[in-house]
């Protein structure tokens, strides 16, 4: 049995905040030692929060990085926590040392530890904002899974908080750290297919494209699960295993389908592909100005219009981003990069042309940014605006009418009804 903290989770935020405020800034030794070895004292100490299907992979990733050591793991499901704790212990043993990783049920215990430099948040979406805002107060840098937010307001608060405390935040939209996506966007930004006119974003997904009300029934709660803490800020409802499946379930949990926890397939793959669309269009930290939902008649697809006239559509079939310019076309997804004419993808970006931020490893880019105190490739403001594109689509679908959006003010223009969708109340005692 590994070390699992038994401390009660019913604590004041205050106590935890005060305890953790001594968290040091990371000034690690700048150079690697022999054979790339980094002394434990110079590694970045990581806490991983949420170790389900995605988060448990992050534990592995950080265990293997020479620059990091995983000192804490948290999950509201004791069995999932134990699985990752075992993985950490086995990794340590197979590498000739003893694991000093501690497990927690309540993430606030991790935030309270002054020796933890940074946290990786792999929880469902409804937790990302609260955890981030609390984490930056305690001096932690953050890697948060995509989609970064559940609402537009959450993104606004997260950007404010991260900037306020000078923290480094990486959004897990890792396609930006792939050569193909970067090259495609560099070609587009440098005009290799002329002026961009249309973008078709294809986000075929196993989840319901636009989130729905949760109708699931009541099931007995597994003993190992802290259901109240799983729900956290989300509206209360009884337990159901479709939303929070037990460890035996090998597939993806389906909380993504439900509006209280996520934005459906739209924010699942959309957080990747709309992110690339925005990158290619040079619209980071901005967004479209009109959003038009399909109406089954003349408007077949969810359509976005940018201030410069570019239109972008969302398609629930296929997977990838199709940029159409006046002089060519580029299609990119995780397995292919194609252009029309064909030779365009073979073009090199010249020294005087636009070179986009280069990262070839999303986690390592975050670690380097922590060391250098720079914004990583998918900084909080980028993650927020890319996610906003998804939210705007979902809101337009939900409202069933055209919306006018001011991406600078992050408000719907003269539309009080639509502006109600920007934020939503969260369950007490949680707050943004």
């Amino acid at each position: 049995m590994r070390k699992i903290s038994n401390k009660t989770s019913r604590r004041s935020f205050l106590k935890l905040t005060a305890a953790a405020l001594t968290a040091p800034y990371i000034i690690p030794a700048s150079a690697l030692g022999k054979n790339g070895f980094i002394a434990p004292s110079d590694r970045i100490n990581i806490g991983v929060i949420g170790v389900g299907k995605q988060g448990s992979g992050h534990v592995w990733g950080f265990l293997r990085m020479p620059e990091t050591q995983v000192l804490a793991i948290c999950d509201v499901d004791a069995k999932k926590l134990q699985r990752s704790m075992d993985a950490a212990a086995e990794y340590a043993e197979s590498n000739g040392f003893k694991s000093n990783c501690v497990g927690y049920n309540d993430y606030r215990e991790i935030l309270a530890r002054p020796d933890i430099d940074a946290v990786c948040i792999g929880t469902p979406d409804h937790w990302h904002a609260i955890m981030t805002i609390q984490a930056v107060k305690t001096g932690k840098d953050i890697y948060s899974e995509k989609p970064m937010t559940l609402t537009i307001a959450e993104g606004q608060r997260m950007v404010e908080a991260v900037r306020k405390y000078n923290r480094v935040f990486q959004t897990g939209s890792q396609q930006r750290s792939s050569y193909g996506f970067r090259h495609a966007c560099e070609l587009i930004r440098n005009g290799y297919i002329g002026e961009i006119q249309k973008v078709h974003v294809h986000i075929q997904t196993g989840f319901i494209p636009h989130p729905v009300l949760c109708e699931l029934g009541v099931e007995p709660k597994p003993e190992e699960l802290d259901w109240d803490l799983w729900l956290g800020p989300a509206p209360w409802r009884p337990y159901n295993s479709i939303i929070a499946p037990p460890i035996e379930w090998g597939g993806w949990p389906e909380w993504r389908n439900y509006r209280d926890y996520s934005g459906g397939g739209m924010t699942d793959w959309g957080a990747h592909h709309f992110d690339i669309a925005q990158w290619g269009l040079g619209m980071d930290e901005s967004g479209p100005s009109e959003i038009i939902p399909p109406n089954g008649k003349d408007m077949e697809k969810l359509t976005y219009i940018y201030e410069n006239g570019v239109t972008m559509t969302m398609d629930i079939e296929g997977n990838g981003i199709d940029f159409i310019g006046t002089e060519g076309r580029i299609f990119i997804n995780r397995s292919e990069l194609k252009s029309w004419p064909e030779h365009i993808v073979d073009e090199q970006i010249k020294p005087h042309e636009i070179h986009l931020y280069e990262s070839n490893n999303h986690k390592l880019d975050w670690i380097n940014s922590i060391k250098n105190r720079t914004k990583p490739i998918c900084d909080v403001a980028i993650g927020a605006s890319s996610c906003n594109v998804c939210h705007l689509g979902n809101i337009a679908i939900q409202m069933g009418r055209k919306l006018n959006w001011n991406p600078d003010m992050q408000q719907f223009i003269g539309d009080m009804e639509a502006n109600r969708h920007i934020s939503r109340a969260i369950r007490s005692p949680w707050r943004l």
Binding site: L14, P24, I27, K164, H352, I397, R427
Partner: protein, 690 residues
């Protein structure tokens, strides 16, 4: 139930668009009558967790259409409130509150207030209330805050803070003194969202008399928020708040946050602030101050700030270089140049990265020297810097340096010619491709492949003809092939080589040019290959076989097969057979033709590698003939694994047309395979077929 609806006498037609559960829109014009509305609402009343959401979706659609057309809303709202006042289930009331959050008005406040007073329903009431933009909501919440405690009170205060209710100051003041620390903390946070002088005053006073260290931390966070909120309206007050929070007795995280605030509000004095901060002993303050150089206004004297830096430890020097780079002002390149001489590798790498953005032609020599004389990440970064360094004279400087510098640096500069690329460098590269140093020659050929244009083909062919080592020959072949393929007219791509070939006497040279023809694949050159494959000279025959094997389609198959069948030379037979197998896939033969071709090849194959290559090709042809051919190899221990993989690849495509044959083979795989994953998949398919 429908108090006001009863007064509706007009039948109202609403065109409704129902979204399916998958989100795709289907237009459906439906007539909505009073009866239909009543029926929908009645259906909602009976809802509970676990039932179909259909009625809820229908109701939401109704609300949405009414909202978009501004019709029936008061009546629908009234109906919803009636539901909230009824003994409907919690699930129904929760659903209704979510809907009210989107369309609720002042009319909802009274009913929602009742739910707010009940701990079981307070959260769902707040869900609705928080989004209703009516001052009546704030009034009710303020009153409710005084009557509640614990979790409900916390929720109310959070909502008042979220709504930025300036009139709640009294409520917040009182709540700050609450015995429950979480209530107190919520009130402090709510005050921090207001961004007013009054809020700043309250928090400042409260900080002086805070009941605990924890409360102090909350207050300081709220003060930071207040200052940030006030920055645009009262910069001076914001600045004074930051000053207070930057004092040395404050926690580090608060001080660094305050430092950011000071930098962005101090204007011209911000540089001075950074200069002072970097003199502090604390690394966190130094680090933050360095990072905040990015925030200094345009035109700030950054050079002065850099000059005032104390001796920095390497980690901080890296941060400084990153900050200077992010500002992108070329006038600060000297700071990066200086750091190139650091004893610390990470600092030198950071300096090289900074020079990519800040450097110019003056840096070419130094960076090239680094690329030539360092190793590992530093070398790679230097190379990248050389490829991306921009400026008006960078290309010219690179070309000038190539002529005068030493061999190692020259190689790096030549390498950069292809990577940047420098199209005007062809003449220089044609010259360096004849350099005494073999590596310089090879790098030059690589760069020529990128930059040279077809008019240089005669010179490039000359280089190929005169190439000495096999590595150089290969590189020259690649270069000639690449440049030939830049000719738009495909049929003309091999003309330059075809023109030279008849005059060549050395079979080795002749062969090396023949091999280039294969990669280009211009139809004009096929007769030359066909003739050469029958040459009396062995070197020419081998090159022709290689060229034919590289051909982009299956046209040379008929030339290669006889060689594979009849040649007396084993090498020729093997190479021709491999080439033939490779061309089957590229050919335009139909599936039956491809299987027949593979079968001929299989009969000829003497070596196991060729047989494996054939099975791999067969696995992509979904025919019973290819399945049978692979089935025959399940007993061959050398080919069993490939046959299993191939059959598994075909199983889906052939399950419907040839289930019996497939079953026999899958059963055999299940019984005999040593690969557990394959066994499991084969078993799954068998189960499905049965």
């Amino acid at each position: 139930m429908f108090r006001n609806l009863k007064s509706i006498f007009k039948v109202i037609f609403i065109s409704c668009i129902f979204l399916s559960l998958t989100g795709s829109a289907t237009a459906e014009e439906i007539e909505v009558t009073l009866n239909a509305i009543q029926k929908t609402i009645a259906a909602v009343e009976k809802y509970d967790y676990g039932q179909s959401r259909e009625d809820l979706v229908n109701f939401s659609e109704l609300v949405r259409m009414a909202s978009n057309q501004n019709k029936l809303l008061p009546e629908i709202e009234d109906a919803m409130l009636n539901l909230l006042e009824s003994d409907a289930t919690f699930a129904t009331k929760q659903f209704i509150c979510k809907e009210l959050s989107l369309i609720g008005t002042q009319a909802s406040v009274k009913t929602l207030n009742k739910l707010l007073m009940d701990e079981k329903t307070a959260d769902i009431a707040l869900y609705a209330l928080e989004r209703i933009p009516d001052p009546e909501v704030d009034k009710v919440l303020r009153k409710a805050a005084g009557k509640t405690k614990g979790r409900v009170k916390i929720g109310i205060i959070n909502t008042l803070g979220q709504r930025k209710d300036f009139a709640s100051m009294k409520v917040f003041k009182k709540a700050i003194k609450d015995n429950d620390p979480i209530v107190s903390e919520a009130a402090i946070a709510a005050v921090g969202k207001l961004g007013t002088i009054e809020a700043a005053d309250l928090l400042t006073k409260q900080l002086a008399k805070a009941s605990s260290e924890d409360q102090k931390i909350s207050i300081m966070d709220a003060l930071l928020n207040t200052a940030n909120e006030m920055r645009s309206e009262d910069e001076q007050l914001a600045n004074s708040l930051y000053q207070g929070l930057y004092e040395k007795d404050k926690p580090l995280n608060v001080r660094t946050a305050a430092l950011r605030g000071l930098i962005v509000t101090l204007g011209d004095d911000a540089s001075l602030m950074i200069k002072q901060a970097v003199q502090e002993e604390d690394l966190a303050i130094k680090s933050t101050a360095i990072a905040l150089i990015r925030e200094l206004p345009e035109g700030a004297d950054v050079a002065d700030v850099i000059a005032a830096m104390p001796v920095l430890e390497p980690g901080l020097e890296v941060q400084l270089l990153a900050a200077i780079m992010d500002r992108g002002e070329k006038k600060h390149a000297d700071a990066a140049r200086k750091s190139l001489n650091s004893n610390d590798e990470a600092v030198r790498i950071a300096a090289l990265k900074a020079l990519i953005v800040l450097g110019d032609a003056k840096d070419v020599t130094t960076i090239a020297d680094k690329a030539a004389n360092t190793t590992g990440p530093e070398k790679e970064t230097a190379r990248e810097a050389l490829y991306r360094l921009s400026g008006p004279k960078v290309d010219d400087t690179i070309l000038a340096e190539i002529v005068i510098t030493d061999v190692k640096v020259k190689r790096e500069l030549i390498r950069s010619v292809g990577h940047r690329p420098i199209p005007t460098a062809t003449k220089t590269m044609l010259s360096t491709a004849k350099d005494d140093d073999r590596n310089v020659r090879t790098e030059s050929l690589k760069s020529l492949g990128v930059i040279a244009q077809p008019e240089s083909l005669p010179s490039l062919i000359d280089l190929l003809v005169s190439a000495e080592t096999s590595a150089e020959i290969k590189e020259a072949q690649k270069t000639v092939s690449l440049v030939s393929q830049k000719i738009e007219d495909k049929s003309a791509q091999s003309d330059a080589i075809l023109m030279v070939l008849p005059g060549l006497e050395d079979p080795k040279v002749y062969g090396s040019l023949l091999e280039v023809l294969g990669g280009i694949g211009s139809p004009k050159s096929l007769p030359v290959l066909q003739k050469s494959i029958k040459s009396k000279k062995a070197e020419i025959r081998l090159s022709a076989i290689r060229a034919s094997s590289d051909w982009p389609n299956g046209d040379p198959m008929t030339d290669l097969l006889p060689v594979a069948q009849k040649s007396k030379d084993e090498t020729e037979r093997i190479l021709a057979l491999r080439g033939y197998i490779g061309l089957v896939k590229k050919s335009e033969l139909d599936d039956a033709g491809k299987v027949a071709a593979y079968k001929s090849a299989f009969d000829l194959a003497e070596q196991i590698n060729e047989k494996r290559q054939i099975l791999s090709g067969l696995s992509e042809i979904e025919t019973i003939a290819s399945l049978e051919m692979m089935g025959e190899q399940l007993d061959n221990p050398d080919l069993k694994a490939e046959a299993e993989v191939g059959i598994m690849s075909l199983r889906r495509g052939l399950a419907e047309s040839h289930p019996q044959k497939l079953k026999i083979l899958l059963k055999k795989i299940v019984e005999t395979t040593e690969d557990e994953r394959i066994r499991s998949r084969a078993k799954d398919t068998l189960d499905q077929l049965n």
